[in-house]
Each structure stands twice: as structure tokens, then as C-alpha cells.
């Protein structure tokens, strides 16, 4: 495992292009595009103000930079550096901006969710979509980029509109039987739309592309409901994480629950491997690391080294007592992610903030639990293989694979806190984002990694 040098970064804005060739990052008002392999600067663009959001177009030809404070969107072309485009939303303001899947339209949401403006880069035409709903996830494109589903709110009722992305024609418009629609998400095959209610009511609705209600699922009443939803890449399962600390898996045939994954604070099953991150007190252990940092550590280490130990069951995980009198309590399953090969599901229960749970989807049971020393900030699956990268806001990055688990110290001067991370398309590299800096972590090829994991066997 190799690490690049550290580059400056602001607002955690750093993204690989969809084709994997480039890496865009923002430093205040500048947009820097680098080659993803050599990290040479390819292009440098200067925006009018601090950039608050960037997004690559699907064909990797354009980058959108949103300057919400100014109500501006600036678009840059990679092929033609001199080409530029500036969209001003004026006094209507701007709260969100995104590309349409074809990479030629930009959807801007105005302040107060008054409307969504669809700007085209091909023609002068501008389309407006009224009454978008201000919610957690009100806009969803199908994976093939043909359709857009949009949550709307009219006359105190929730609606979903399905648009054809090629000409922004309304295809279907139907009301959903929800109190307060919180989010919508297409199944990866683009044929089923999942819509869920706000946390006050546990309700999942499944709609066909043509607007038919396929099924409704409600696990319980009265208490707080759904917190997170994720489709499996095969569209076979819909995982629903809720405030009761459980993940419920629905199947795509009957849309009934197959199984329920609880997140207990103590793990008693001896079959489950519990990896516990432990601080390594003597720095002598450095040489034993299977993933040794390639560069000599020049400055003093900001934090002690750590390693994983297999904890003896029963293990009790560190729990967080949620404040009952505060809104949005830190309980329930707040993060869910299926591995790209459908085999695993990673979850985080917010009142056990240090733990990541990995579930075996084939056997529908818990597979492993990773307990970190501090709260898990983010985790993301390698797009190519069942490998999970985790960061906790410390100077380490953690990798899990079915073979084992490894904790890697990110080398660098001073304190480099990994707040977020994103994988490269190929799974060969990983961008680690800190508050002011980012660096790339290059993983060995598959064989190298597997042997490395094998070497870690004694540590894990």
C-alpha cells in the first residue's frame, strides 16, 4: 500500500471522474483536475467564489461547480479548457445542483424548493419543474439514465413524477400514500421505485416504472421509523434500516421481509468474528506491519499505532446513550451499503457508533463486526471486490475483506484526519479526504493484496 503526497483540499470536494482517468479537487475557489494515476495537474480552473459542490458529468467531459452562496453554477470542459458556462439563478437562489445522466443538462434547485430549473448545454431551452419536495432524497435517476423520479408536494399531498430524461417529458405522475415522503430510490434495474415515509411512520412503498403500486411494507407503528434504505446491486433485495436498530431485508418477488438483522450491543455467537481495534503501545511494532508505510515517518506520530485483535465472545460493544429529548436521536441504522458483488451488507447502528457490521447476504446472517476506537465516519465498498474501506476521523484508514482486517496509518506531517474517502473505479486506489488535505492511497494489485491480507493473518 502506497500513499501519495498530501494535497490541499477544501470542503471535502474531491471526486474521481466516472471514467476513472481524472481526479477533481477544490481548493477554495480553484478547481484542480489531476491525472488519477500520475497525480499531475491536468487542468486548473478558477471559479468566482468558494466552490461548495462539484460533480462530474457522466461522460467525464464536464465538471459542474456550484457556488450556492452566490446562486451560481460554473461548468468547465475538460476537452476545451477555454470553454466555460455560467448559470446564474439570480434572486431565486440555489440549494442544489446536479447533472442529468446525459451530461448535457443541469438541474438546479432554487431556494425554498420553489422549482427545479433544467438547463441544457445543447440548446437554449430551459425547463422548470414546479413543486419539488424538500426532502432527504427527492430526486432519483435510474441507473441507465433514462428516467428521473422526483418527489413533489402539492396540496399537502405527496406525489412522484417520473420524467423521461431525454426530453424532460412527464411520463407518470402519481400520488403516494405517505404522510411525509422522505425519499425515493430506484432499483438498479430501473424498474422499481422505492419510496419511504419520514421517520414518524414506518412505511415503504414500491412502485413500478409505470406508476403501479407493487407493495407496501410496514414493520411497526408508533415509534420512529425508517432511517436509511439501500438496494442491492442485483435489485433483489431492499435493505431498510430503521430507528429500532434493525435492518429488514425485503425480497423482490413478494416484497415481503425475508429476514431481520438486529444490532445488539453484545455479541454472543462464537461463529462471528469480532475485530477489535486496539492501540499498539510500543512503536517497535512498526516493522511488523504488513502494510508498512513506504515513506519514513518524519514527524512525530500524531496518534499511536493500532491493530486489530480478534475479541473473544461475548463482546459488548461501546454504546452511546442517545439524548431522548433531542430531535434526530443518534439511534438506529444510519448507514447501509451492499458490496458490489451482492455478497455482503455493511451497516452502522448509530447508537453503537464505533462498530461496523458486515452481514453475509447469501446466508442472511452476521458475518463480522469491526469495533473501532472512535466513531465510524464513513465506509465505502471497493467497486470491484468485497473490500470495505472505513474511516473514523483519525489518521488511519481501515480495510476489511472476508480474509481479514487491517488498520493503516496514513503517513504525513501533522495531523491528517481522514473524514471521508472515495474509491477509484478500478478499486486500485482510494482517495482519503481530510479537512484541509487529501491524499491518494494506492493499493497493490489483487494478488499483492491477497498475500498482504494473508500476512496479516496473525494480526487479525
Amino acid at each position: 500500500m502506497n500513499f501519495s503526497e498530501v494535497f490541499k483540499l477544501s470542503s471535502l470536494l474531491c471526486k474521481f471522474s466516472p471514467d476513472g482517468k481524472y481526479l477533481a479537487s477544490c481548493v477554495q475557489y480553484r478547481l484542480v483536475v489531476r491525472d488519477a494515476n500520475t497525480l499531475q495537474i491536468v487542468q486548473l480552473y478558477t471559479c468566482l467564489d468558494q466552490i461548495q459542490h462539484i460533480e462530474w458529468s457522466a461522460d467525464s467531459l464536464f465538471i459542474l461547480c456550484a457556488l450556492y452562496k452566490r446562486g451560481l453554477v460554473q461548468v468547465w470542459s475538460l476537452e476545451q479548457p477555454e470553454w466555460h458556462c455560467k448559470i446564474d439563478e439570480g434572486s431565486a437562489g440555489l440549494v442544489a445542483s446536479c447533472w442529468s445522466p446525459d451530461g448535457r443538462h443541469i438541474l438546479n434547485t432554487t431556494e425554498f424548493h420553489l422549482r427545479i430549473t433544467v438547463w441544457s448545454l445543447c440548446t437554449k431551452s430551459v425547463s422548470y419543474i414546479k413543486y419539488p419536495k424538500a426532502c432527504q432524497q427527492g430526486l432519483a435517476f435510474t441507473r441507465d439514465g433514462r428516467y428521473l423520479a422526483l418527489a413533489e408536494r402539492r396540496d399537502c399531498r405527496d406525489y412522484v413524477s417520473i420524467f423521461v430524461c431525454s426530453d424532460w417529458q412527464l411520463l407518470r405522475h402519481f400520488d403516494t400514500d405517505t404522510q411525509d415522503l422522505a425519499g425515493i430510490e430506484w432499483a438498479p434495474n430501473g424498474c422499481v421505485l422505492a419510496a419511504w415515509d419520514s421517520c414518524l411512520e414506518y412505511k415503504v412503498l414500491l412502485y413500478s416504472l409505470d406508476g403501479r403500486l407493487l407493495s407496501t411494507y410496514c414493520a411497526y407503528e408508533w415509534s420512529l421509523g425508517i432511517k436509511s434504505v439501500a438496494w442491492s446491486p442485483s435489485s433483489q433485495f431492499l435493505a431498510v434500516g430503521s430507528y429500532d436498530g434493525k435492518v429488514r431485508i425485503l425480497n423482490h418477488v413478494t416484497w415481503k421481509m425475508i429476514t431481520e438483522f438486529g444490532h445488539p450491543a453484545t455479541i454472543n455467537n462464537p461463529k462471528i468474528v469480532v475485530y477489535k481495534e486496539a492501540e499498539k503501545s510500543p512503536p517497535l511494532g512498526l516493522g511488523r506491519l504488513a502494510f508498512p508505510p513506504p515513506r519514513a515517518v518524519t514527524g512525530p506520530l500524531s496518534s499511536p499505532e493500532s491493530k486489530y485483535e480478534i475479541a473473544e465472545v461475548p463482546v459488548s460493544l461501546q454504546t452511546l446513550k442517545p439524548a431522548a429529548d433531542r430531535a434526530n436521536p443518534r439511534i438506529g441504522v444510519g448507514a447501509l451499503a451492499f458490496s458490489p458483488d451482492n455478497y455482503f451488507l455493511a451497516t452502522r447502528n448509530d447508537n453503537l457508533p464505533n462498530a461496523v457490521w458486515v452481514w453475509d447476504v447469501q446466508k442472511l446472517r452476521l458475518f463480522a463486526v469491526l469495533e473501532q476506537l472512535s466513531a465510524v465516519r464513513a465506509f465505502q465498498w471497493d467497486p470491484r471486490q468485497p473490500r470495505l474501506a472505513i474511516c473514523t476521523g483519525g489518521s488511519k484508514v481501515y480495510l476489511w475483506s472476508p480474509a481479514g482486517c487491517v488498520s493503516v496509518q496514513v503517513p504525513g506531517e501533522g495531523d491528517f484526519q481522514v473524514l471521508s474517502l472515495c474509491w477509484h473505479l478500478s478499486g486500485d486506489s482510494l482517495a482519503l479526504l481530510g479537512k484541509d488535505h487529501f491524499c491518494l492511497c494506492f493499493l497493490e494489485t489483487e494478488e499483492g493484496v491477497s498475500t498482504a491480507f494473508g500476512q496479516r493473518g496473525d494480526h487479525t
Partner: protein, 616 residues
């Protein structure tokens, strides 16, 4: 004891006094006052006191005392103290003898009373201790009763408390339920209120939004604009098309196409899955049929009752197997047939398995009765035996291994040595066989020789007899020559012949067969029962030939004699020895075993004799 005695004495005396008091009350007693006084006094029979208190009898009232005593004694049934009066006028005389007798009787009575008193006292004591014990027991039991009563009361109290608690809890539960219901109602009402308020607010918000929209959008905001250097081409290279009804229809079409594609994909998957499952079903069915066919008869018969046309179904099944291509069609009938046949087979299999289960459980149940114990014992024995065997085998193996190792250690080339050894073994075997046959022949020869020897011995005996007869005749002639009394000849001959046995015995002790022949006779002499029977058949002069005759005679009467044989042998264990006696016992019931009676003394002789018996 002395103390006791004194106490009893005093008691007894007082009693006596009591009696006397009662009696004296009835009669006029001159000394009633005194006696009363005496009763009152705790120290009776003291002479000092008597004299002091001017006792019962004084010089003045002797007569009166005597008459009083007489009266008293007569009332108690004693004879009168006075002599029989001859006349009324004469004064009756005191009869000293009667007085003494009375005194003596009184003393005896006193002693008896004392004894009785003692007995009564001891009994009283015993009873007193018994009483104490019983009282103790009673107290204890009372205490126990009290305790248990108290305990019971405590338990009752606890029960009451628990019941109270339970009632309270029930009440609480009810309250809680009510509370829950109330809270749910509150939540629901609040939710509706909240929703209502939300709607109101949202409406206001929408109005505001609308207004804002108008204000912001309709002002012809110059700022809302897009500056672009030049428009870029579409990603697909096509030009944007106008929105018309046509495009709408096309969009619909495309949507349905996508949906159709998805459904087709899913259908294909389902078909594949179905095909797989059908294959599995088919295979299962085949296996079931093949599994059930050997024991088809029984379950079939049973299944006939319920399903009726099962046998015809089998033929159907066979037919179905041939047209497997039907499965792909998945038409209803085929599906039904398949499922039905599978179900039937399954039912059969199930019933079969259940039957087996029942059998197993039955066996188990039976096993739990007495049979199990025996079988277990048998098992244990068997296992023990087997273990022993295993141990033996192990030992053998061990020894063999050791031997092998030794041999291996000694012999360098094991193949050749083993071969050679095999050869040696074969050779040895043959040699042994030869030797065996030789040995057998020798044995036969030996037996022949023995037979000839016995025959020779018999012949010798005969010859000797002839010789003795000759000698007797020679002696006779000599005697006749010596004497001239012809008339006495016959008697003398008889005499000599009678003596000849003993004489020859004494003269020729070295003769080989003599002592052996003699012994059986002595045996028979020793046993009176036996001799009485044998003596009849025995001639006056016991000789070898006679003996042989008796032998055959005995063998003829074997069945009758056999019982008799036992007794004489038993009576003389010193001669036959223990083992022989035992042998006889076992042989006693067998016919022809009577010779054992004789052979008990000389085994070699009897052996030969038996063979001789077998010969004719």
C-alpha cells in the same frame, strides 16, 4: 434399699391401721381410742410409745383384748382363739396353739402383703416414669402442634399478602393498560392535530411560496440566465427533438419495452429456476420409485384404500417418464400429474417411514420390558467375550509381530526365508502324516497283540485247569494206590476239589492271572448282596473258566445287577478310591457297566475284559 424399706414399712403399717380402723369402727372396741391415737402417731409399733400411751393390752383388760382379738380374727376368717367350749356356763379357755397359728398366719400374710406392696410400688414407679415420658411426649407434640399452627398461620398470612399483591398487580396492569390505551389515544389525537396544523402551515407556506415564485420569477430577472461560450453537442450526437404527441407515445412505448424486458428477464430466470426444480422433482420421483419398488406391495396395498387408483398410477408414471419433453411445456395437466404422483409417492414413503419408526419404537418399548435385561446381559457377556477375544488376538498379533520382528532381525531376506519356511512346513506336515499312519498301524498291531495275549492267558488258564485236573486225578490215583477204601473215593475227591482253589492259591502265588482272578471273588465275598446273587451261578470251585462263565452271566443280568453294583462299591470306598467311585456313579444306570464294579479293583484286567466282551 434400706430407705425404701422403711418408707414402705410405714406406709404398710398405716394401711394396716387403716384396715383395722375400718373394722374396729364396726365393732365396739375397747381400745378404739388408742388405736385412733396410734393411727395419728407416725411412729407405730414402738414399744416405748406403747407403754407410754398405755398400749392396746394392759393387765386389766387382757380378757377384753383377747375377746376383741378373737372377734376380730373370726371376722377375718381365722379360727377362734378360744378352745371349743363344752358348755355355755364354762368360761372359754384361751387356746395358745390357735393364737400361735393365728400369729403365724398373720405374719405370713404380712409378708405377702409386703411383697405385694413392693410389687405395687415398683409398678407404680414404672407407671410413674411411663407417665412422665408420656407427659413429655405430649408436651413435645403440643409444642409441635403449636409451631405448625403458627407456621400455618404465617403461610396463610403470606398467601393472603401474595394474593393481595397479585390483586394489586392486576389492578396495576389494568391501570397500565388503560394508560397505554389513553396514551395511544393521546398520540393519535396529537398526530391528527399535528397533521392538521402541518397542513395549515403547509398551505400558508405554499401560499408564500407561490407569492415568492411570482415575485422572483415574474420580475423578468435579468440575472437568471446562462452564459455559455457555445452550445455543445448532445452526448449521443443527435439533435434534440421537438416535444410532440409522437414523442410522448414513443416514451410510453419505451417505458413499456423496458418493463417488458425486465419481466421477460425475470420470467426467464423463473423458468430456469422452475426447470431446475422440476429436474430435482423428477429425479426425486425416480429415486422414490426405485426406492419403494422392492417393498411396493405392502404400502401399495395400504395406499389402495385411500387413493384407489395407485397401481394404475404406477403405469402412468412409467409412461410419464418416457415423455419427459412434456416438462418443458409446463402445462397444467402435466404439472398436476407430477405433483400428484410426487405427493402420492411421498405419502407412501412417509407411511413407510412412519411404520419403520413405529417398529423401532415398539422394539424400544419391548426392550424396556424384561427382555431388555437379558439382552443387555447377553450383550455384556458377548462384549466381554469379544473383548477377551480381542485381547487374545491382540496378544497373538503382538507375539506374532515380535516373532516377525525377531525373524526380520535375524533374516536379511524375508521373502526367501518365508518361502523356505513354507517348504519346511510342507515337508514337516507330510512327514508327520507318515508318522501318524505308522503310529496308527503300530497301535493296531499292539491291540492285536494284546488280544492274542489275553487269549493266550485264557488258554493258559484252561491248560492249567486241565493240568490241575490231571494232577488231581494223579493224586487220586496215588491216594487210591495208597488206600484200599473204594467206597470213600468219591467223597474224598469232592473234598480235594473243594480245597483245590485255596490250595492252588497257596501253592502258586506266582501264577500270573491268579491274584487277579482272586480279587473279584473277594470283592463279591465282601458284598453280601452281590454274593448272594452271584453265588447261585457260581460253581463250588471257583476257577478261571467258571469266573468267565459268571462274567457272561453277570453281563446277561446286567440291567438287574447294575443297581446292585453301586451299593457294594459305595460301602468300600477304601478299595476303589474316590475317582473310581465317582466313575461308578456315573456309570450306574448304564447297562453293561456292572463290570466296573469288578474293574474298580484292577483296571488293566477290566479293560482287557471289556474288549473280550466286545469280541463275540
Amino acid at each position: 434399699m434400706g430407705d425404701w424399706m422403711t418408707v414402705t414399712d410405714s406406709g404398710l403399717s398405716s394401711e394396716n391401721k387403716n384396715i383395722s380402723q375400718y373394722t374396729s369402727e364396726t365393732k365396739m372396741s375397747p381400745s378404739s381410742l388408742y388405736s385412733q391415737q396410734v393411727l395419728c402417731s407416725s411412729i407405730p409399733l414402738s414399744k416405748n410409745v406403747h407403754s407410754f400411751f398405755s398400749a392396746f393390752c394392759t393387765e386389766e383388760n387382757i380378757e377384753q383384748s383377747i375377746s376383741y382379738l378373737d372377734q376380730e380374727l373370726t371376722t377375718f376368717g381365722f379360727p377362734s382363739l378360744y378352745e371349743e367350749s363344752k358348755g355355755k356356763e364354762t368360761k372359754r379357755e384361751l387356746n395358745i396353739v390357735a393364737v400361735l397359728n393365728c400369729m403365724n398366719e398373720l405374719l405370713v400374710l404380712q409378708r405377702k402383703n409386703l411383697l405385694a406392696q413392693e410389687n405395687v410400688e415398683t409398678q407404680n414407679l414404672k407407671l410413674g416414669s411411663d407417665m412422665d415420658h408420656l407427659q413429655n411426649c405430649y408436651a413435645k407434640l403440643k409444642e409441635q402442634l403449636e409451631n405448625s399452627r403458627r407456621e400455618m398461620i404465617g403461610l396463610q398470612e403470606r398467601d393472603r399478602q401474595l394474593q393481595c399483591k397479585n390483586r394489586n398487580l392486576h389492578q396495576l396492569l389494568k391501570n397500565e393498560k388503560d394508560e397505554v390505551q389513553k396514551l395511544q389515544n393521546i398520540i393519535a389525537s396529537r398526530a391528527t392535530q399535528y397533521n392538521h396544523d402541518m397542513k395549515r402551515k403547509e398551505r400558508e407556506y405554499n401560499k408564500l411560496k407561490e407569492r415568492l415564485h411570482q415575485l422572483v420569477m415574474n420580475k423578468k430577472d435579468k440575472k437568471i440566465a446562462m452564459e455559455v461560450l457555445n452550445y455543445v453537442g448532445r452526448a449521443d450526437g443527435k439533435r434534440g427533438s421537438w416535444r410532440t404527441g409522437k414523442t410522448e407515445a414513443r416514451n410510453e412505448d419505451e417505458m413499456y419495452k423496458i418493463l417488458l424486458n425486465d419481466y421477460e428477464y425475470r420470467q426467464k430466470q423463473i423458468l430456469m429456476e422452475n426447470a431446475e426444480l422440476k429436474k430435482v422433482l423428477q429425479q426425486m420421483k425416480k429415486e422414490m420409485i426405485s426406492l419403494l419398488s422392492p417393498q411396493k406391495q405392502k404400502p401399495r396395498e395400504r395406499a389402495d384404500d385411500s387413493t384407489g387408483t395407485v397401481i394404475s398410477d404406477v403405469e402412468e408414471d412409467a409412461g410419464e417418464l418416457s415423455r419427459e419433453s412434456m416438462w418443458d411445456l409446463s402445462c397444467e395437466t402435466v404439472r398436476e400429474q407430477l405433483t400428484n404422483s410426487i405427493r402420492k409417492q411421498w405419502r407412501i414413503l412417509k407411511s413407510h417411514v412412519e411404520k419403520l419408526d413405529n417398529q423401532v419404537s415398539k422394539v424400544h418399548l419391548e426392550g424396556f420390558s424384561d427382555e431388555d435385561v437379558i439382552s443387555r446381559q447377553d450383550h455384556e457377556q458377548e462384549t466381554e467375550k469379544l473383548e477377551l477375544e480381542i485381547q487374545h488376538c491382540k496378544e497373538m498379533i503382538k507375539t506374532q509381530q515380535q516373532l516377525l520382528q525377531q525373524q526380520l532381525a535375524t533374516a536379511c531376506d524375508d521373502d526367501t526365508t518365508s518361502l523356505l519356511r513354507d517348504c519346511y512346513l510342507l515337508e514337516e506336515k507330510e512327514r508327520l502324516k507318515e508318522e501318524w499312519s505308522l503310529f496308527k498301524e503300530q497301535k493296531k498291531n499292539f491291540e492285536k497283540e494284546r488280544r492274542s495275549f489275553t487269549e493266550a492267558a485264557i488258554r493258559l488258564g484252561l491248560e492249567r485247569k486241565a493240568f490241575e485236573e490231571e494232577r488231581a486225578s494223579w493224586l487220586k490215583q496215588q491216594f487210591l494206590n495208597m488206600t484200599t477204601f473204594d467206597h470213600q473215593n468219591s467223597e474224598n475227591v469232592k473234598l480235594f476239589s473243594a480245597f483245590s482253589g485255596t490250595g492252588s492259591d497257596r501253592d502258586n502265588p506266582t501264577v500270573h492271572s491268579r491274584p487277579r482272578q482272586k480279587k473279584p471273588h473277594s470283592v463279591s465275598d465282601g458284598s453280601p448282596v452281590c454274593t448272594s446273587k452271584l453265588a447261585r451261578s457260581l460253581p463250588a470251585s471257583p476257577s478261571t473258566s467258571d469266573f468267565c462263565k459268571t462274567r457272561s452271566c453277570v453281563s446277561e443280568h446286567s440291567s438287574s445287577v447294575s443297581a446292585l453294583n453301586v451299593t457294594p462299591e459305595e460301602t468300600r470306598p477304601s478299595q476303589a478310591g474316590r475317582e473310581c467311585a465317582d466313575q461308578k456313579w456315573s456309570m450306574a444306570s448304564r447297562p453293561g457297566s456292572q463290570e466296573g464294579c469288578h474293574s474298580g479293583c484292577s483296571l488293566p484286567y477290566t479293560n482287557s475284559h471289556v474288549e473280550k466282551d466286545d469280541l463275540p
